[in-house]
C-alpha cells in the first residue's frame, strides 16, 4: 500500500531518479563537452562493391568496428587504424564508412584492392549514418554492440580531417523535400490507402521515427534496388533519398511554410481515383469467385483459372489490374498452354518439379543457357532459355494502380488456345478480407506494326540450398544470338531471396551491370523498367546472379535448419531471373 501511494505521487520523481541513477552509473558517454551518441539505431548502407550491409543482421557479432575514411584527407591514417583494429581484434566485424555525397566506388575499389587492410567501405552518401555513429574525424573509430546498438568510442584524433556533415541549409523543405514525398511516398500513404502518414504535418511528425527507421534501413521506398547504375522508371534517385533522410534526421523542419500536406494528400487521392482514361477495355477477365483471406494465419497462395482456351490471338497493349491489395501481396497473371483442370496446388507446384509450367522454350533466340552450381566453378550445364509464363505481376507496391502499359509501339501476344490463370499470394491483415480481381485488357489497335515484347527466363530448377548458409549464389547465363532490346527486369525468389544482379558481357568482353538489387525484398516482388531500353548486341552473354540467405540472419527464413529445394510453395525456393525483350532483327521472327 505504501509502495502504491508513493508511486502515484512520485511519478515525475521516479523518472528523475532513473535519470540520475543512469547518469551516475555511467550509462551515458563520459565525454562531457559534446553529447556524443551512446546508441545507434539500425541502418543499411551499400558498400563499394555494391553489396547491401545491414547492422541488424549482425546479431551474433560481439563487436563491430566502423572506421571513418575519406579519399581526400586522412586516408593513410584510416588504413593504418583498420590494420591495428584487425590485429587487436581478429574476430571482430570491421567496416570503413565514407561520408561523402559523391559515389566513389571505383576509387575505393582501387584503394582497397591495393591495400592489405581490406574491409567493405560503406557509402554514407547522406552523411547521416556517420553522424549518428558519432564519427567526427577521419581515421577515428567506434565500436558498436549490434544487439542494442550501444556505441563505444574507440580511437579518435589520428587525423585532423573532419568527417563531412550535413549543412542544415542544404535541404529545402519546399523545393527539395515535398516533390520527393509526392513522387515516392504519397501514392501509398495517402489517407485513402495504407498507413495514412501524409494527412497533415502533425501526423507526419507523429510517424517521424517510423519514417526515419524505414529510410535508414532502406526498406522504403520498396524494392531494394541500387540506383547507382542507370535510371529506372519510378525509382528514387539516391540523392533524393539522401535529402529525405537528412530532412528527417534534422527533425523534419517545415521552415515556416504553412502545412502543405492536407492539399497534397487531397490532390493525390483525386489523381488515384481518376486513373488515365484508356476508354473501354477490349476484354475483361474476372475471377469467378473471390479468394477469402482469414483474419490471422500464415500467408496463402491460391490459384484460379479465369479464361481459356482463348479463341484468337490477343495482342495486348495495356492491362489494368483491380484487386484488393489490402490482403493481396501480389497476383501473377499467367498464360498457359493447358488448363488448370483438377490439378491441386500441391500437384502442380510440387517440390522438385523442375519444369513446372514453363513449357515453351524460346526457339528463335537459340542461345544456350548455362547453369552454374556453386560447387562447379565453371558455367557448363547447357540449357535453353524458357518462355516465361507469367505475363504480369501486380503487387501492392505498384503505387498508382496495378497497370502495365507497353507504350504506343509495343504489344505482347497471348496466342490462340491459351489458358489464363491467376496466382494470388495473400497475407492476413488482422481482419477477414477477400479478393475478387478484375483484369481489363486493352489490345493494340494495329498489332502488325507493333514491336512484340517477349518474356524470357533463365529458369533454373533442380537446385538445393544448404541449411544455415547466409549467402548462396546461383548463376545462370545465356548467349544472345541476335540484337535485342531489354525492356523490363522481373526477378522472382521467395523468402530466402537476398540479392539479384543482371550482367551483360558484350563482344568487347567488358561486363556491365544492367540491374542490381542488393536488398531483394520478397514482400514486394518488384519489377524494374529502365528509363531507356537497354540495347543488347548479338554475341552478348547475359548473366544473372541470384543470392539466397538460408541462415537465421534472414528474419523471414521459414526454417534455417533445412535444405531448401526448388518449388512454388513459400517454404521452397524459386530461381526466376526473368526479363522482357524486343527482337530488333524482324527477319528472325517466326
Amino acid at each position: 500500500m505504501t509502495r502504491r501511494m508513493s508511486s502515484r505521487t512520485l511519478g515525475p520523481i521516479f523518472l528523475g531518479l532513473v535519470l540520475s541513477v543512469a547518469l551516475s552509473v555511467g550509462c551515458t558517454n563520459t565525454d562531457t563537452t559534446v553529447a556524443a551518441p551512446t546508441t545507434v539505431d539500425d541502418f543499411r548502407l551499400i558498400d563499394h562493391n555494391g553489396r547491401s550491409q545491414w547492422l541488424g543482421a549482425l546479431i551474433d557479432e560481439a563487436e563491430v568496428f566502423y572506421v571513418a575514411i575519406d579519399l581526400e584527407c586522412g586516408t593513410d591514417q584510416a588504413l593504418a587504424l583498420m590494420q591495428s583494429i584487425r590485429t587487436a581484434h581478429p574476430k571482430a566485424k570491421v567496416y570503413y564508412i565514407a561520408a561523402n555525397p559523391k559515389q566513389e566506388r571505383k576509387a575505393y575499389k582501387t584503394l582497397i584492392k591495393a591495400s592489405e587492410k581490406r574491409a567493405p567501405v560503406l557509402m554514407d552518401t547522406s552523411l547521416t549514418i556517420s553522424a549518428s555513429l558519432g564519427l567526427k574525424t577521419v581515421a577515428s573509430a567506434v565500436k558498436v554492440r549490434p544487439q542494442d546498438g550501444h556505441i563505444t568510442p574507440f580511437k579518435q584524433g589520428l587525423s585532423e580531417c573532419p568527417v563531412r556533415k550535413v549543412e542544415p541549409s542544404a535541404v529545402d523543405f519546399k523545393a527539395d523535400i515535398l516533390p520527393i514525398i509526392d513522387k515516392h511516398c504519397l501514392s501509398c500513404h495517402t489517407t485513402s490507402r495504407w498507413v495514412k502518414i501524409f494527412k497533415d504535418y502533425p501526423t507526419v511528425r507523429g510517424w517521424s521515427q517510423m519514417i526515419r527507421q524505414t529510410l535508414r534501413t532502406q526498406r522504403m521506398p520498396p524494392g531494394g534496388i541500387d540506383p547507382h547504375f542507370r535510371p529506372y522508371v519510378g525509382v528514387a534517385k539516391a540523392e533524393d533519398m539522401d535529402a529525405l533522410l537528412q530532412w528527417v534526421e534534422m527533425g523534419m523542419p517545415k521552415s515556416g511554410h504553412p502545412d502543405p500536406f492536407p492539399k497534397m494528400n487531397h490532390d493525390k487521392i483525386v489523381a488515384l481515383n481518376n486513373p488515365k482514361g484508356w476508354g473501354k477495355p477490349d476484354i475483361v477477365w474476372e475471377m469467378p469467385e473471390a479468394h477469402i483471406v482469414p483474419a490471422s494465419g500464415p500467408d496463402i497462395y491460391k490459384y484460379i483459372q479465369i479464361a481459356g482456351p482463348t479463341k484468337r490471338d490477343i495482342h495486348l497493349n495495356r492491362i489494368r489490374f483491380n484487386a484488393d491489395f489490402r490482403v493481396t501481396h501480389h497476383m501473377n497473371l499467367m498464360v498457359l498452354d493447358r488448363p488448370l483442370k483438377a490439378l491441386s496446388d500441391d500437384q502442380v507446384f510440387s517440390k522438385g518439379n523442375d519444369q513446372q509450367m514453363r513449357v515453351r522454350k524460346i526457339t528463335a533466340t537459340k542461345g544456350e543457357m548455362y547453369h552454374d552450381h556453386p560447387t562447379e566453378p565453371s558455367l557448363k550445364v547447357a540449357h535453353k532459355l524458357f518462355e516465361e509464363t507469367i505475363l504480369m505481376t501486380a503487387s501492392r507496391s505498384q503505387a498508382l494502380s496495378a497497370e502495365l502499359d507497353l507504350g504506343a509501339h509495343r504489344s505482347m501476344l497471348i496466342p490462340k488456345g491459351s489458358y489464363i490463370l491467376l496466382e494470388g499470394h495473400y497475407g492476413s491483415t488482422g481482419k477477414e478480407g477477400s479478393n475478387k480481381a478484375v483484369i481489363k485488357i486493352y489490345e493494340h489497335p494495329n498489332p502488325s506494326e507493333s514491336e512484340v515484347v517477349e518474356r524470357g527466363c533463365l529458369y533454373r530448377g533442380g537446385f538445393k540450398i544448404p541449411p544455415g548458409k547466409p549467402s548462396f549464389t546461383m548463376k545462370t547465363a545465356v548467349d544472345i544470338d541476335e540484337d535485342i532490346l531489354l525492356v523490363r527486369f522481373v526477378p522472382h525468389m521467395h523468402a530466402r531471396g537476398k540479392a539479384v544482379t543482371y550482367f551483360a558481357t558484350g563482344p568487347n568482353k567488358e561486363r556491365k551491370v544492367l540491374l542490381s538489387v542488393p536488398n531483394f525484398q520478397y514482400k514486394y516482388q518488384h519489377e524494374w523498367t529502365p528509363e531507356e531500353p537497354i540495347f543488347i548486341p548479338k554475341g552478348t552473354r547475359l548473366e544473372t546472379h541470384m543470392v539466397y540467405d538460408n541462415s537465421k540472419y534472414n528474419p523471414i527464413n521459414p526454417d534455417p535448419t533445412q535444405w531448401v529445394y526448388n518449388g512454388s510453395s513459400r517454404a521452397e525456393e524459386m530461381h526466376l531471373p526473368r526479363f522482357q525483350f524486343v527482337r530488333l532483327d524482324k527477319d528472325k521472327d517466326q
Binding site: W207, S428, G430
Partner: protein, 187 residues
C-alpha cells in the same frame, strides 16, 4: 531532452525500479488506473498500440485469443497508445475494426510510454502486480517481421513469459526484440 531521457531509459532498462501507477482516459473518456487494474490480477500485459500500424492490426486477433485464454488465470491485457497523431475517436474506431477486445490507456502526454521505455508499437511488457516489477519486455512472438511473416511463430515469448510468471519462476527469456511502428516522442 526527451530523446536523451528515452535513450538512457532504454539503454539502462535494467535500472527499472518499480512501475508506478498511471491514470489515463480510455476511449470512453473514463479514467482507468494501472494499479487498480492490477488489484485482482495475477499478471498485467501492456502492449504499445498505434492506430493504422499494420503490425498491431495483424496481432489483434492473436492478442484477442491470448487475452481470452489467460483471463481465467487472472491475467489482464491492455494497450497503451502514445501516438500524438491518434485521437480518441480514431483509436476507438481502430479498436472496433481490428478487434483485440482489450482496453486502452490513452497516453496523451506520452509520459506513461516514456516511463515504460516503449520504443515501438507491439512492444509488450509483462508486469507482476504483486511487486510492480517488469518480468518481460519484447515481442508477442517472432512471427511478424518487417520483411514479412513466418508461417507460424518459432518462439511464443509472451505466452512462455506468462507461464513462468504464473508458475512463480524466473522468466527464462525476459526480453526479445519487438517489431512494430517506431514511436515518435515529441515535445
Amino acid at each position: 531532452m526527451t530523446l536523451l531521457l528515452l535513450s538512457i531509459l532504454t539503454a539502462c532498462s535494467s535500472l527499472f525500479l518499480d512501475v508506478p501507477d498511471f491514470k489515463r482516459p480510455n476511449t470512453a473518456g473514463e479514467i482507468i488506473s494501472l494499479h487498480k487494474m492490477g488489484d485482482d490480477a495475477t499478471a498485467l500485459v501492456l502492449i504499445s498500440h498505434g492506430v493504422d500500424c499494420p503490425v498491431i492490426q495483424q496481432y489483434s486477433p492473436i492478442i484477442k485469443e491470448m487475452a481470452a485464454s489467460f483471463a481465467p488465470k487472472g491475467v489482464r491485457f491492455a494497450f497503451v497508445n502514445a501516438n500524438t497523431q491518434d485521437d480518441a475517436q480514431e483509436v476507438a474506431a481502430d479498436l472496433k475494426e481490428y478487434d483485440a477486445g482489450i482496453p486502452v490507456f490513452l497516453d496523451e502526454n506520452q509520459k506513461m510510454s516514456m516511463a515504460l521505455a516503449y520504443k515501438t508499437t507491439s512492444e509488450t511488457i509483462v508486469i507482476d502486480p504483486k511487486t510492480w516489477t517488469i518480468k518481460y519486455r519484447g515481442a508477442i512472438d517472432d512471427q511478424i517481421r518487417y520483411a514479412g511473416r513466418l508461417g507460424k511463430p518459432r518462439h511464443h515469448y509472451l505466452k512462455d513469459a506468462l507461464g513462468d510468471v504464473l508458475a512463480g519462476v524466473p522468466v527464462k527469456t525476459p526480453s526479445s526484440r519487438a517489431y512494430g511502428c517506431a514511436i515518435s516522442y515529441l515535445d
